[in-house]
């Protein structure tokens, strides 16, 4: 497993809002070690039996939290993230969709300066099955096992996790890095963590059109990753110049196409799957092979 386990102490920023409250409840039910929440002005109250604090600093001092799951409106997300970093939080899971990208860039710069990690924004979060779910992923789809997953997408991750789980393959950790063009953790950082993680034996990497993070990751895999990697790209039928839902999912100036990404996967030794079921078949195949030496 990477980044989170059953001991990770998590607070929820925006815990008393509609989304925050509903998902705090689901995270607690899943078994995540939620130690409290924050909502300015509601300090002293409780939410689903956990204490609510006015500030992240107070929450960290009283609970020892190291991770924050952030459910705040888009224009408050930068402030919330900065507050978490200032209080010493080391892992930020930012679920919020629609954060202005210039705000994200400012947050990313501060995350680097504080030597912290950011997952998101506009992401489903992270799950180490059976131990900790931080975000909005449907816990019942996942089970513990040898497959590490990293993805830009939410529901597509669930679809592929479901295909894996139904074929008997569980997951070590699944990280949804988010669909925005400017964001925290990228493929390469997550891939290097999976490479070092003894519980992960095979890696599934889910990408989509737009940008060149997948091509970059493919080069990185060839040079640095010994574990088998299975790649999946969404958007082979997407027309150029159109934004496909995610802010980052756009083919512009002939760049960021699915073909380019699939080609760089193939030429760098990444196994390519064309459907969620094929991902599961390829993963099962790869698990039978001995680890290659590089």
């Amino acid at each position: 497993m990477i980044l989170v386990d059953k001991n990770t102490k998590v607070i929820v920023q925006g815990a008393t809002g509609k989304m925050g409250s509903a998902h705090t409840k689901r995270m607690i039910e899943y078994g995540t070690n939620i130690v409290g929440g924050t909502t300015p002005g509601k300090g002293g109250e409780t939410i689903h039996g956990k204490p609510v604090f006015d500030t992240v600093l107070e929450a960290v001092e009283k609970t020892g939290a190291t991770c924050s799951c952030i459910f705040v409106p888009p224009y408050l997300a930068l402030d919330a993230g900065m507050e978490a970093l200032d209080a010493g939080i080391k892992l930020l899971v930012l679920i919020t969709e629609g954060m202005p990208p210039q705000d994200t860039a400012k947050l990313v710069a501060q995350v680097k300066a504080k030597d912290a990690k950011l997952i998101g924004p506009n992401c489903p979060g992270i799950i180490t099955p059976g131990q900790s779910l931080i975000g909005i992923l449907p816990g019942s789809i996942f089970k513990s096992g040898p497959v590490g997953m990293v993805s830009k997408s939410g529901t597509l991750t669930y679809e592929i996790a479901l295909a894996l789980t139904e074929s008997g393959l569980g997951q070590s950790t699944c990280v949804g890095t988010g669909g925005d063009p400017i964001k925290g953790l990228d493929y390469k950082e997550v891939l290097s963590m999976f490479e070092a993680d003894p519980a992960t034996q095979v890696i599934v990497m889910i990408g989509e059109i737009g940008g060149n993070a997948e091509e970059d990751a493919a080069d990185y895999i060839k040079a640095n990753i010994k574990k088998p990697v299975i790649g999946f790209i969404a958007g082979q039928t997407a027309p150029p110049g159109k934004r496909m839902g995610h802010a980052g999912a756009i083919i512009s100036g002939g760049k960021g196409t699915a073909e380019s990404k699939l080609e760089s996967f193939r030429s760098n030794g990444v196994l390519v799957a064309m459907t969620p079921k094929e991902v599961a078949q390829q993963a099962a195949e790869a698990l039978k092979q001995p680890v290659k030496a590089k």
């Binding site: 990313v108 529901t155 597509l156 991750t157 969404a234 934004r243 839902g245």
Partner: protein, 380 residues
Amino acid sequence: MNLYEYEAKRIFAEAGIPVPPAARITKPEELAKVHFGYPLTLKCQVMAGGRGKAGGIKFAKDLNEGKSLVKDLMALTIKGSKTESLLVEPKMPIARELYLAVTLDRNRGCAIFIASAEGGIEIESSDNVLTEPIPYPYHGFAGRKLAQKLGLKGAVLNKVADIANKLYKVFENKDLDLAEINPLVITTGDDVVALDGKIIVNDDSIARQKSFAGMEESHLSELSVRERRAKMAGLNLVELEGNIGILCNGAGLTMATMDMVKGFGGDPGNFLDAGGGSDQKKTLEALELVNENPNVDVILLNILGGITACDEVAGALVQFMKRHPERKMIVRLRGNNQDIAEKMLSESGLKLYPDLEEAVKAAVEAAKSAGKKPVGAGKS
């Protein structure tokens, strides 16, 4: 949101970036009131790029020629984008052209300057391009550093540095995705002037930028009527040529479903991502939008409920099928409250596919048999 040139230049001028004197007109007779002296430049105000090559920029040597050009240019449509108005400016005595822009770099995760000592170019296809990461918080040396890297000297170096600094401030203060001056001209008198301007406002930031309030709907000209309706309803719709209408939750899953449709021999008619957590009302609007596309013979609904509740979707489906009983539907529904949804749909006679591949195959089959019917049959 893309702005017209005249809107971009108005914003540049407010920020202190020099722009040519200009008048905006739509009728030939308005030209008589423009007193910049001849020759004049007449420029179509369109959203599409490649305006110069398409004949959207003309020069008039006198009023008579100008009037007839106004008539011709106002009738011009460039790449499907109608001329909204004309921008009239005095013709500039150009000594040199530069390119200058500020945008966000998704790989570096920060703002960058893009600049070139050659202006008026298509920046994507030029080799002579500088990209400079912009340190945050911003300081004015960034502009000077850039101007020097462009090989400038003396008064022109200072003027270009000042414009670069102001352009960055516009980019930051107005929440832009792109602020571009192409070309930035150096005149024979060593003045530096933004001859053309392009601004793309970040869509997620419009709501906090009061100066752009209410502009969005009139600036969506590249979208179809249904795509525009979807956008206003908070749905993401892109229409395509095929006959299988697709509705999913989540961008990645929607694209993957389209790809599978194509992979199994079908043709997607649209991309519709209803987003996470859509309720009954929003899902119903999404179904109607897919249904109204005349190309669509079959609708494939694929919902994997994480934050979307299956019973909300089922409620929308029941209502939709009452309105359109003949519409061929393939439905795959899994996740939260799936059991309630199944109960709600059991009376409708609708077959539910738990497996995505099976659902896609069924939709492709249904679309093929619909395609064999005589024209006009099978459409509600």
